[in-house]
Symmetry: none
Subunit: 421 residues, 2 copies
Amino acid sequence: MIVELISVGTEILMGNIVNTNAAYLAEQCVELGLCCYYQSVVGDNADRLSETLQTALNRSDIVIMSGGLGPTQDDLTKEVAAKVCGAELYMHEASRDAIKSYFTKIGKQPTDNNWKQAMMPQGAIILPNDNGTAPGCIIEKDGKAVILLPGPPNELIPMFENSVVPYVKSKLPSIICSKTVKICGIGESRAEDMISDLIAKQDNPTIATYAKTGEVHIRVSAKAEDEKTAKNLIKPVVKELKQRFGNYIYTTQEDMSLEKVVVDLLIGNDMNIATVESCTGGMLAARLINVPGVSDTFKSGFVTYSNKAKRKCVGVKKKTLEKYGAVSKQTAEEMVRGMRTVNKADVVVATTGIAGPDGGTPQKPVGLVYIACLVGDKVTVKEYHFAGNRMKVRENAVTSALNLVRECILEYYSEKTFGKK
Amino acid sequence: MIVELISVGTEILMGNIVNTNAAYLAEQCVELGLCCYYQSVVGDNADRLSETLQTALNRSDIVIMSGGLGPTQDDLTKEVAAKVCGAELYMHEASRDAIKSYFTKIGKQPTDNNWKQAMMPQGAIILPNDNGTAPGCIIEKDGKAVILLPGPPNELIPMFENSVVPYVKSKLPSIICSKTVKICGIGESRAEDMISDLIAKQDNPTIATYAKTGEVHIRVSAKAEDEKTAKNLIKPVVKELKQRFGNYIYTTQEDMSLEKVVVDLLIGNDMNIATVESCTGGMLAARLINVPGVSDTFKSGFVTYSNKAKRKCVGVKKKTLEKYGAVSKQTAEEMVRGMRTVNKADVVVATTGIAGPDGGTPQKPVGLVYIACLVGDKVTVKEYHFAGNRMKVRENAVTSALNLVRECILEYYSEKTFGKK
């Protein structure tokens, strides 16, 4: 079943607000197993609204329109949708009463134009709004449905969950399940190369790769009559991906981030962590601390951007800085060892690099970053070359640092279990 | 001149990412004086892409397509746009070389499919990409233009600014100039209230407010035959805004960020800064360090998220933490004073707050943040209440901390100049 989204509103069209409603609705529709091929944004203009809705009805089964249900003359969505579907508007008494009680509740008087919001298309299913004055509705026509929702997210989201989800589910013959395999440490092109045979022969389930900063996500989606069958279709593909990508996969859980995986790994092994950051300048600590409940696990973080700070805070030797430079394997190693001396953290991770735009040389170009990780008494230092502007280099460095911590902890425990290689 | 935006990508269509590119492009187009009536989102599908582009070309003068310029088989935007405009693709040598050097720079090997990105439509204006491998292009046809941009915002934004803006300006009969007045410390509603009379009578120049995280931007745009006339129309309005908002304005320069203003203020007064962060966990240091050349000015930063770290790193007293709590005026003050003892920085700023989702109480709800700033021997501590999720609370805290540093330095020098009040 095909769904199409039409967001109505000049504010979105002019870029004053970001269209988060569309992202929310799209994600929910995918989860319901609907296919979404088109989204549109159009202003509060009767002709353009009408044209956009007609086009959508020609190619989709369900059209979800959001916005333009307000009380003012600008708000035309309901009027246009009713006209396109050939339905007259009438005063819906229950909605009128709801608007009345809403105003009583907030201690204000409705204005005359508020009653316009209770005018509903004949034959439509009315969707009550507990969080505002604009009821939504579903207009069914020739086996298709036009669903009208209010624009404010705090009204749209509960209305979608409470009224639209059950309606759509009752109409669906099959469902869709998907699973995302999240990979860190290899780029999108290489990841796709490694599974080009699977992509070439994909049908059901489908396989798609998505590039994120420093990560690649592979989504496997299957369509079936019921959830169990869909999940069984996904399973062997995910198993194959696991075999091909091994430890590059950091999670197969939808709501799991790389920093959450690292924090869980630390908590699970009763370890704490400390950060020493030069080029990332606090971004690494900030990402770890974005995980709620990290408090006991995050020992402390230092931002040692200047050479002086590197020497003073974590005791990097003057000689090392002079001989090898601040951006070097040696400095990175002394940063983690120095931090261990300062606060005895179980895991210490350090970054030092040239984020640009200036400061690069032929030997040490912009984008060169060393990341060191100390677990147990073993220091691992890796050299990276990142492309892009200052922020991109730093974001990539943070993701790679998190991934290095993950790899080093995994290695530490595998060596402890299986003996040193 | 009418512009239309087509965002290409399954990720947007499926709600995996929010379409911030469309908001950015829409805002920029409005600023250029273009009218935007439609935005669409469509997946990586040749038929649907082609249909959407044809519809757009029928009703608009400029079509900006973003996304789908990647190296994979999925990426079809360029192929489809070339076909719709009747242009063959050819190997563009300069783009091929650019891709080669890009990979050399990052120390990796291009894969075979990367060369696809150097295939460009015959006759198109090529837009170089300094931040990625996908060049953009402008295909002109029958007096209309199809502009193709890469999807990642860090590639799209510089390409738009460097290449698309000058192109569009060259096509416009009149020019639009604008000036942005950037404000920190008051909300959008209040800012709008303070200039409601100006907004009500606006014509040319127009005045619009934009809410950013912790900031409000007021954009004044004038349309005229030439730049000088437009600038003369803007001048008195900006002067009026300066009178009304005074020190709330941190800049009127387009490319100036709050952190850059703070760093310039520090450098200009030969001062250095140190940060001590609890709830912001490194984000404040990270924003300061995003300013190139901050090295000598940024003394060092500590991330002291746990109580232990607050005691150990900056000597917050156990008694203070027990009596007033980690999130208190007193702890914030001891954090800055402790850091001064540690590294003698001229300016020290500290954050401590409850970012949520847990940890709130009726007395100290989620969103409560204390920020302290020490300049000279004076500590200023302010209490803030921020709304939104964990990340939003932390982002607001960072912006407010930067603004507090700015205010405190300005006050320090005004007191030094005019004597203590």
